[in-house]
Amino acid sequence: MNLAASILKNDRLAIARLMSLIENGTPEGLAELDTLFPHTGKAHIIGVTGSPGVGKSSLVNQLARCFRHPSQGREPVSVGIIAVDPSSPFSGGAILGDRVRMRDLAGDPNIFIRSMATRGCLGGVANATAGLIQILDAAGYQVIIVETIGAGQTEVDIARLAHTTLVIEAPGLGDDIQAIKAGILEIADILVLNKADHPGVETAEAILRSALQFAPAHHPGYHHPVGDVVDSFEVEQISNESVWTIPILRTIALDGTGVEKVAEQIELHRDYLVESGEWAKRDRKKLQWEMESLLQSSLMERWRNTVTETRYREVLNQVINREISTAQAVNILANGGFSQ
């Protein structure tokens, strides 16, 4: 099986097959991805996030249409879409319903849509999302839109995967205190106020505007929790002229009103990223994060093989019987199931 070679020729069956292998974490899938990796890094990755029901899928549908049929003077670009929905924590099953809103995109050979379940992963995207992005990137899709699950306040991982993050809001979702809390609003490069034909849109926009006033003048980008990429790499100086001001754009995703403006801002943001040196910086952070996530799951798996199932249950039972604390249990388990 040589999926990688077919994927480089944009063979859709091969793309879909490898995506499944990556989601299932198979070694042969990962090996194909190794071959593809040098061909990645070209696509503009756009994250779309926001609470459930604000209109993410409808907006992605309209955005993809704008990218495929742009207004005068702009070239159409090919679009890959990865739409993430939650897996049930009880059955592990999922209903992936984002395609319902994307029926306008059917039949276009330059659009590839893949639905994906979180499979237990927190953070709003799935573990394999980075891999699926790489596949579409290598296949030559110029713009890749990643739609997260209906995200709450801390599902911010999308900002680590994307170059440009759109946060979608709608009227009636919360007051000014919600808006200045940490979390999802912090990761926005572009704020979209969807359902702009609904009552309360003025108030919602005023709240978002005042929340942005509290934000620092230069958007710092997403902070890496483990430690930033070494600063000595960052030779680019960010000049005052190239500060990105987060726009607030009103849309009605159902009929497409205002979506053209969003597509324009996405392209402007891309230009800003490239000119300011932020593109390279985000790319480094992105790869570091992807590598560390893989490292974590690999170490976890390796550790799991050091402790027998029986020993694991013994230690767990000691915790349940309140004989040892959870921290003591971790100490024992981390040492292969033996006390030091």
Partner: protein, 132 residues
């Protein structure tokens, strides 16, 4: 790493707008641990085959209550084959007359479920068809 999940495309081809059955089955398959890609109403056979390809599903479930099954289902099966997706199992739910059931099964439809079918039966027959 995660185990292999059964992926199902649940689609309503044709023009009838009654999707309650499709939703009930989608929910049952979800509760059985499967990943169900729900496409919604009024899908053409072309849209269904394209979605089945992009989503790399194991199963396509078609819900038809309009009576157009003999026009729509053979077309879906033909397009799946044209896309090199002959491994995809096709299941049908809806109002299908007995004489058509035989014909559809000859075309390769694995299971056909009318009103009153239990969701347990559908779940177990899909599982069986995939694991064998």
């Amino acid at each position: 790493m995660s185990e292999r999940k059964i992926r199902v495309l649940m689609a309503k081809p044709g023009l009838d707008g009654h999707d309650r059955g499709a939703k009930v089955v989608a929910r049952a398959l979800r509760d059985a641990g499967m990943e169900v890609i729900y496409t919604g109403l009024r899908q053409t056979p072309e849209m269904i085959a394209e979605a089945a390809l992009q989503e790399d599903v194991d199963v396509v479930g078609l819900s038809i209550l309009s009576g157009a099954h003999m026009a729509l289902i053979p077309k879906v099966i033909e397009l799946l084959k044209a896309n090199h997706q002959e491994h995809v199992r096709v299941f049908v739910g809806g109002i299908i007359p007995d004489e058509d059931i035989l014909l559809l099964k000859q075309m390769g439809v694995v299971g056909i479920y009318g009103p009153g079918t239990t969701t347990e039966k559908i779940v177990s027959e899909i599982r069986h068809a995939i694991t064998q």
